[in-house]
């Protein structure tokens, strides 16, 4: 390989708060009638003012904490000024120089650290819908719709305008698309564990913007080895892990080919065309964007105390990596087993509940893990207790008759006083004997059947 890719990533995660970021409109816009979850604030009407949603701010900070970020004790909102029809105020309320969180990391399975530059809070834009056939280019973030005449226009629905968005920005630490995808899966898993976003790609809850450049390997060995390439190409608004992988691979190849020809790729924003699996130039940055950030005068600054930070930390559940490690340690699972069982909180909780119940019946955690992973039983429709019962039942059926006979004989021999007590009419002694047999069979066998067999055996002897 002649070139080493240098990849960074911006991810927008939509929070699942009840109300929007700066007003009381419902934040649940998916599938709603257009322009029905809209008020003066999120429509940008003259005179309307924003008041921030404290739940969204806390959730943004929790994401930061889960990514091992530092929390800013003093922070603020800023205005990012630019014009676009989906931006009602002509500025987006975002955060500029003091994000709520910065300096975090995610560790990949290879132990490679991906640095998190910052995690900040902002508001979503409205949704644009474009007439089909204007161009071959598919704007993935948006929807297209067919119309019969040739008039070209776009339509705007403000239901999404002002929905809380958390932006997570990484350092340019990725070297290939696989690392990016692994990072994304981890990030998705974390926000779902925190229960702050559905992180549903289909619904646009997570939007991905990789920036890609490549540098020559030969340069790496020379003195300028840590210098980043002088350009980067941003690919905007990708809504699937598969497409982000394809877009990155396409860009690495495209930029490599340009460099082969002695050309330097230009700094620009591109879009991913999923139909043709390629990226398409959207706008070149001949003059850099000038967002004229300044502190949002309508929202007083935001401060957090140490005790509030501790309180937020205490609200963070056990995260996938810690949980996986604990499963390995506490339940003797293999790495791959534990990895699969912590995929979601629901799966992990189900597993632990089943282990707890299984213990009473002498069922090993590994046995439960195997059943769940191999999906021999459709446990997704069961309660943990039902899964355990199914395991117990299947084990009973598995016990060979001869083996059971032997165990019963042995117990009768060993527990002479219980046998005597039973014969004197103490019915509790029979249950004691059944229990002893079950313990020996490690839960296998049907208790009623065992009881019957013991009675039969004792009858033979007397």
């Amino acid at each position: 390989m002649k070139y080493q890719p240098v990849i960074g990533l911006e991810v927008h995660v939509e929070l699942k708060t009840k109300s929007k970021m700066f007003c009381g409109c419902s934040a649940d816009y998916f599938g709603t009638e257009p322009n029905t979850h809209v008020c003066p604030v999120c429509l940008g009407l003259p005179g309307a003012l924003p008041v921030p949603n404290r739940q969204a701010i806390d959730w943004c900070r929790m994401i930061g904490l889960a990514l091992n970020c530092q929390l800013a004790s003093f922070s603020k909102f800023d205005r990012k000024n630019y014009f676009y029809p989906d931006l009602p105020k002509g500025y987006q309320i975002s955060q500029y120089d003091i994000p709520f969180c910065d300096k975090g990391e995610i560790i990949l399975s290879s132990d490679k650290k991906i640095g998190i530059t910052r995690v900040h809070m902002e508001e979503d834009t409205a949704k644009l819908m474009h007439q089909l056939g204007i161009s071959n280019f598919h704007f993935p973030k948006e929807t297209t719709f067919p119309i019969s005449n040739k008039e070209k226009y776009s339509l705007i629905d403000f239901n999404r305008s002002g929905v809380p968005l958390v932006e997570i920005v990484t350092e340019p630490d990725f070297e290939n698309s696989q690392e990016v995808v692994e990072y994304l899966k981890k990030l998705q898993q974390i926000v779902r564990y925190l229960d702050v976003s559905n992180a549903d790609m289909e619904k646009g809850d997570m939007r991905l913007e990789p920036n890609i450049s490549v540098r020559e390997i030969s340069n790496l060995k020379s003195q300028i080895s840590n210098e980043l390439p002088k350009y980067k190409v941003e690919v905007k608004n990708i809504n699937s892990f598969r497409f982000v992988e394809k877009a990155i691979n396409y860009e690495i190849q495209r930029q490599g080919e340009l460099l082969d020809k002695g050309k330097t790729p230009i700094q620009e924003t591109r879009g991913y065309d999923e139909v043709h699996n390629r990226t398409v130039s959207q706008r070149t940055k001949e003059e850099a964007q000038d967002y004229r950030y300044f502190p949002e005068p309508d929202i007083p600054p935001i401060r957090i105390s140490e005790s509030q930070i501790s309180n937020l930390k205490s609200q963070i559940p056990e995260l996938p990596t810690e949980k996986k490690n604990r499963f390995i340690k506490d339940y003797g699972l293999r790495e791959d087993q534990a990895f699969q069982l912590v995929e979601t909180r629901k799966i992990a909780d189900f597993f632990e509940e089943a282990v707890k119940i299984g213990k009473k019946f002498g069922i090993e955690a590994t046995a439960i893990a195997n059943i769940m992973i191999n999906k021999r039983v459709d446990w997704s429709r069961m309660l943990p207790a039902e899964l355990v019962e199914a395991i117990v039942k299947s084990k009973r059926e598995d016990l060979p008759a001869m083996e059971l006979e032997n165990i019963i004989s042995e117990i009768i021999k060993k527990e002479g006083s219980a046998v005597t007590n039973y014969k004197r009419g103490k019915s509790g002694s029979m249950e004691f004997l059944v229990g002893k047999v079950m313990a020996q069979t490690k839960g296998k066998g049907n208790p009623n059947q065992i009881r019957q067999k013991i009675i039969e055996k004792l009858g033979e002897k007397s």
């Binding site: 708060t17 009840k18 109300s19 007003c23 009381g24 409109c25 419902s26 009638e33 257009p34 322009n35 029905t36 979850h37 809209v38 008020c39 003066p40 429509l43 008041v51 921030p52 949603n53 404290r54 739940q55 969204a56 701010i57 603020k76 014009f83 029809p85 002509g90 644009l128 819908m129 474009h130 007439q131 204007i134 161009s135 280019f137 704007f139 070209k152 226009y153 776009s154 339509l155 705007i156 629905d157 403000f158 879009g271 959207q282 706008r283 003059e287 000038d290 004229r292 300044f294 502190p295 005068p297 929202i299 007083p300 600054p301 935001i302 401060r303």
Partner: protein
């Protein structure tokens, strides 16, 4: 002082200015800018001075995550000149990309 770049600024401000307006506004803004440059005289007093972007001293003014009624679709659209199927209609945007 560098000459005021009126075209670039107008583009950032999304204002279409006629050439007369460009000429007039340039002239007036250059006069105003040279007036506001008098603030440079205050520079020695500004060492260690924090900027004031909020005068109230308020902090952490937030709202609970509760919903409140939205406007009706009719109210949302009532001031627009161009709507279609409950949405705002604008000239095709993709062509700019």
């Amino acid at each position: 002082m560098a000459k005021f770049d009126i075209r670039h600024t107008a583009k950032l401000a999304n204002l279409g200015l006629s050439s007369e307006e460009e000429e007039k506004i340039s002239r007036e803004l250059e006069e105003i800018l040279s007036y506001v440059n008098k603030l440079n005289e205050v520079d020695p007093d500004l060492i260690g001075v924090e900027p004031t972007s909020h005068i109230t001293g308020l902090e952490n003014v937030t709202r609970p995550d509760e919903t409140s009624p939205s406007l009706t679709q009719t109210e949302v659209l009532q001031n627009s000149k161009n709507t279609h199927n409950g949405m705002f209609k604008v000239p095709a945007i993709l062509e700019d990309l």
